[in-house]
Amino acid sequence: MSALLDVRNLKVRFAMPKPSLFAPQPYLEAVRGVSFTLEKGRALGIVGESGSGKTTAAMATIRLVPAAGGEILFEGDDLLPLDDEAMRARRRDIQLIFQDPYSSLNPRARVVDIVREPMDLMGIGDADSRLQRVKELFDLVGLRPDQLNLFPHQFSGGQRQRISIARALTTNPKLLVCDEPVSALDVAIQAQILNLLARLKRELGLSYLFISHDLGVVRHLCDDVAVMYLGQIVEQASREALFDSPKHPYTQALLAAAPSLARRKSKGYVRPLKLSGDPPSPINPPKGCAFVERCPMAQEVCRREQPVLKACGPSQVACHFAAA
């Protein structure tokens, strides 16, 4: 089976203000060479703390943020060299769900028009079939047809996220990029939306690129998980491998930091690794391993050499000391 999405060595950087007129242009290296593949019908979760570049990587993947280098192979075609018109045509296959359901819907448009707009833009169908499709989508995501003519502000957060999902599904995309789609919602509503996403994946054969900082959410929905730290993937594995036997010390610390009720009293309880300090600045990323300042097993080599992703059991890990 060939990959639906194959991202190779993706780089994104943002120009920073120059300190003086003749100084070299400083850059913020937001994504520093990220590679991942996503098979059809699967969900890849990208986790990481704020500022790890996970959202930027996703936005660059769908060319809403310009990439500085790399390849983005979607169904075998590189998206990066496409001109604007050609990219526009591919957008019907790649759609997006946003984090904040309050700012992702145009407040001056009726929801029927919001969901229909992709068809208007892509020239799909005629007026009748578009309306029909909007009704189908409403049904699919659990909204009522009598809500078609309302405005976004008349809906709750969870309902707005359903509208957002309906809009993303309008053009029958193959890939959905979900940028923290539930983190702005109440926990009870989170479960509803996650279940909806899981059902849509099953029924429509969708693939997800799922950005989240919430490990529980990723565990619930994703087949594979990539952990990002300072613009790089430090560990990539199947859900089972990652959650059962995390290899990278950062992944271990992340998992240990997830709150749990029973573990302290259970047998074989190991005190979790505690992370202190902050990640280094992405403006002048360190030469060696980015995690070195916070890592409990850091050695001299970690400062000198940047570890690359290599196979370690079933996982891919970027650590000099990862043990299978």
Binding site: I62, R88, R92, Q95, F98, N106, L121, H153, Q192, N195
Partner: protein, 295 residues
């Protein structure tokens, strides 16, 4: 899946066009309705008042500075040349309002176009357009308008044009600020993600959301334009062949200490016009804001 069913109570809803809904909202706004009534009276008076009360505003009909209420033929008195003030007010309103409306329209068209392009594209487009805007902003507006009117010969349209040319920078800056704010919101990114082109994003996604402050600013601009026209006429740069409220004030201001009425009545007319237009602007702002609408 049972956990996905929405628990919301069904609400009664009838589909309405946005304009109809805005009107429904507007109708409940009493100050705005007062504004509409006031403006209607003013417009009707200036359009049809001369059919009921005919008189040439330029003709000398009585002794100068006849106070109001003293002579039944001229209830508001006469000015320094003995011209009928009511006739002046009724015939002068039309040109005054027309200049205000046309100047505001010119201001809005130039200002919104410049501000939208500068705010949306940023970078060198923004730099270029904003330097142009600043150039017009640092010109002394009144002097520049006077030069324009002098060069182009004073007619109603050139006066409106001159006012528009000196007033648009503010609108441009306001539009730019709104665009800068809105262009980074997620629904704009969403529009881009579904393949909307820049043109569509600028005019159908961002502009409607940037409109509320612009509508208010447009109505204020009508007021400012009316005052500006008054100022130009006051300085003797009005169209001398067309009576306007500003011309009346300008012509009579020298004698304001001897006779208050030839200046006060057109002044009040300008005040009430600007006031009515502002009330309407506020009402429109509320009516077009869906967040303030009730279900």
């Amino acid at each position: 899946m049972s956990d996905e069913t929405t628990l919301q109570q069904p609400t009664e809803y009838q589909a309405e066009s946005p304009a109809l809904e805005a009107w429904r909202m507007f109708r409940r706004n009493i100050p705005a309705l007062v504004g509409v009534a006031l403006l209607t009276v003013i417009v009707l008076a200036t359009l049809y008042g001369t059919f009921i009360y005919s008189g040439d505003p330029f003709e000398i009909v009585w002794a100068p500075h006849e106070p109001p209420g003293m002579t039944p033929e001229f209830p508001l008195g006469t000015d320094y040349l003995g011209r009928d003030i009511i006739a002046g007010m009724l015939t002068g309103g039309g040109p005054t309002l027309a200049v205000g409306a046309v100047a505001a329209a010119i201001t809005m068209v130039i200002g919104i176009a410049m501000g939208a392009l500068a705010g949306y594209y940023g970078g060198w487009v923004d730099n270029l357009l904003m330097r142009v805007t600043e150039f017009f902003q640092v010109l002394p507006a009144l002097l520049f308008a006077m030069v324009l009117v002098t060069l182009l010969s004073p007619s109603l349209f050139t006066i409106a044009f001159a006012i528009g040319v000196v007033s648009w920078p503010q609108t441009a800056r306001l539009t730019r600020a709104e665009f800068l704010k809105i262009k980074n919101l997620e629904y704009v990114t969403a529009a881009r993600a579904i393949g909307a082109r820049d043109k569509r994003i600028i005019w159908t996604v961002i502009l409607p959301n940037a409109l509320p402050p612009l509508i208010v600013s447009a109505t204020l601009t009508i007021g400012v334009a009316i005052l500006f026209e008054a100022g130009l006429s006051f300085l003797g740069l009005g169209d001398p062949n067309v009576m306007s409220w500003g011309l009346m004030i300008g012509a009579n201001r020298e004698y304001i200490l001897d006779a208050w009425w030839p200046v006060t009545f057109p002044g009040l007319a300008i005040f009430f016009t600007v006031f009515a237009v502002s009330l309407i602007g506020d009402g429109l702002n509320d009516a077009f804001n869906p967040k303030l609408r009730e279900r």
